[in-house]
Amino acid sequence: MKTPFINCAAAIISKDLRAEFRARELVSVMALFALLSILVFSFALELDRQAREEAVSGVLWVTLIFASLLGFNRSMAQERDQGNLDALLLAPVSRAAIFVGKLLGNFIFTLIVGLAMLPLMTALYGLALLDGWIILTTALGTFGFATIGTLLATMTVQTRAREALLPIALLPIALPFLLTAVRATKSLLSGAPAAEWQGSLGMLAAITVIYLVLSLLLYEYVLEE
């Protein structure tokens, strides 16, 4: 008998949120990294308004991606270190449900950091990042990146050099996604015609769907020995 997909995924999300609420091991580390990164870029890039518009979307996404790498690694390490991944695998649950549970947990943590970055960057860079479409782009980009990040973190967490291996594996695969997210944000900030950023957003959504389908198909093979 298999436990229903939704119950399993919900149990994993609820467990991850509860554990994070207690330990604050993921969000605090990601947020601190993001804060320092934004400050460093802010001091390093003393730019005029136009140059800031050019650079800020890159700063947003590069910071968010490196912060999320820390989070994905830690999230999977928590499963691995006490052998909990084995406990999940022993249960009569679909591997895809485990993936969705872990993915949504990672997405929520990364989104919290991403949304916290927007007002901070608005204040430091003097650009209107608190815009509905930019928030939507951040949420969509974060979800797509969490999808591929969760899959690859599950693979690399089983290796000794997991901290180094995850960025090496993830960044090349996520590059088209990163470039599209940067392009969409830049178009939105510069007030480009809707057709321009809508195209980028559509591309972002399409890549996210591809990542999601691939991850759901591959997760079972990634988890099995």
């Binding site: 119950n7 467990k15 084995d86 406990a87 022993l90 249960a91 649950v93 020995e225």
Partner: protein, 236 residues
Amino acid sequence: MSDERALIEAENLSKAYGGMPVLRGLCFQVRRGEFVALLGANGSGKSTLLRLLSGLSKPTAGAVRVGGWEMPGEAMAVRAQIGLVAHQPLLYENLTARENLHFFGKLYGIEREERERRTVDLLHSVGLRRRADSLVRTFSRGMKQRLSIARASLHQPDVLLLDEPYSGLDQASIERLDEMLAAGLGAGRTIIMSTHQLERVPRSAGRALVLSRGRISFDDAIGNRDMSEIYRSASA
């Protein structure tokens, strides 16, 4: 009391890691309700065998069946029948004992009321009722081990696999575990317990299976035989 039907069957079961053979062509059957003590020196393949039986590892060659289902291909069908106490506690440190059991209860599809009842009963039987709402990270090794046993028993599995379950337990906990195992056996549960400590084999264990260099060197009823003698002759 065991019945004659084989619940677990291993046929020419082999496992190698990176070309290094750990288990070599094991053939054995375990009947429903049997308590098998799995013995052997460190590195003899006990933990690997338990991982294969639980479906966590895939055999390099041969087959293993639980309840007629072939592992790991049909593992989903047998997962609900297996409880594993491994080397590591398989518990979440930042959850309480109660929350851990509730979480695993949800994964096994146990309804809320039943989950509550079993959680309370199991925490009582492993002596952790008063620490039910303490975080697992504050527990000693022995307390984690006891909670791990509760986790493995939560879904009332037909087969309980225990990998060195006595490690880290004090005398009172050892006696409590022996009682739990005897009760499980009385309820018709099949138990396979690995240990390298012969003095730890409970009296309720009816059969010994000794592994030596990845092969079965002894497989018979314990009866009145002295465990040290069995082990010495099997390892010779």
